[in-house]
Amino acid sequence: MDVQLTVEEETMTAFLSGEIDHHGAGEIRRKIDEMAQRVRPQKMILDFGGVTFMDSSGIGLVMGRYRLLQSFGGALCLRHVSSPLKKVMRLAGLDRIAQIEDTRPGEKQEGKRS
């Protein structure tokens, strides 16, 4: 797994790729936080477009970034979340703390779970 970071005005985007598990999550966290603490973005987008697998370590990753952003008043947005990833995220109620923006190209937009 890997992460590419960009910052544009007040928005920081982390393009995640590969398999997100406990093995790789620590490194990703460090990279994101190091940058986020420097730029203190108003908005952080976690882009899951290149992510092929995610377990609950990914939930820890999202929750931790959510808390960090809250600490300086930023908002978290999750983008390009495939169906299997969405299933993991919903279990944790991540759809309640962060905006899940859209689906991967070619995938049907699903309604929110009632």
Partner: protein, 145 residues
């Protein structure tokens, strides 16, 4: 019930083996031709169970993780992940969603919740100081059905 096929896999509790374990289980059940969703469910559940061995059971060192998978009749898959690590004092409490003994705030306490909701059955047995065995079951629905 007689197994159509089975495999036993042992690996040391290094985090690199999280990915290997789920890839091996995925390759093992490939002949059942699971859907992408079924495959993701099983890989995720295996990843949770194996990660727990690494993060919790053998938190102070490296131990051995025993993984067993069986394919039974009608697409039934049984997966067992066993460690001889620290064990769990209160299994019922450990299985509650959001419960975690991890203090750095980066574990969500949802490992068991994922296993429970992504698999058809989950059984956890543990003896403090002796280790933990997680047994999970899921039926892969035949695409023809």
């Amino acid at each position: 019930m007689k197994a159509i096929n089975e495999m036993k896999l042992t690996v040391p509790s290094r985090s690199a083996n999280e990915g290997f374990a789920r890839a091996a289980v995925a390759a093992f059940i490939a002949p059942l031709d699971p859907t992408i969703g079924e495959l993701a469910d099983i890989k995720t559940a295996v990843s949770e169970a194996v990660t727990n061995c690494i993060v919790h059971a053998y938190r102070d060192g490296i131990g051995v993780i025993y993984i067993q998978a069986k394919i039974l009749e009608q697409g039934r898959v049984v997966i067992r992940v066993r460690d001889t690590g620290c064990g769990i004092e209160d299994v019922k409490k450990a299985m509650e969603p959001l419960f975690t003994t991890c203090e750095n705030g980066e574990r969500a306490g949802l490992g068991f919740a994922v296993m429970e909701s992504f698999m058809d059955k989950l059984r956890v047995s543990s003896r403090p100081g002796r280790g933990t065995t997680v047994t999970m079951e899921k039926t892969i629905l035949s695409k023809g059905a």
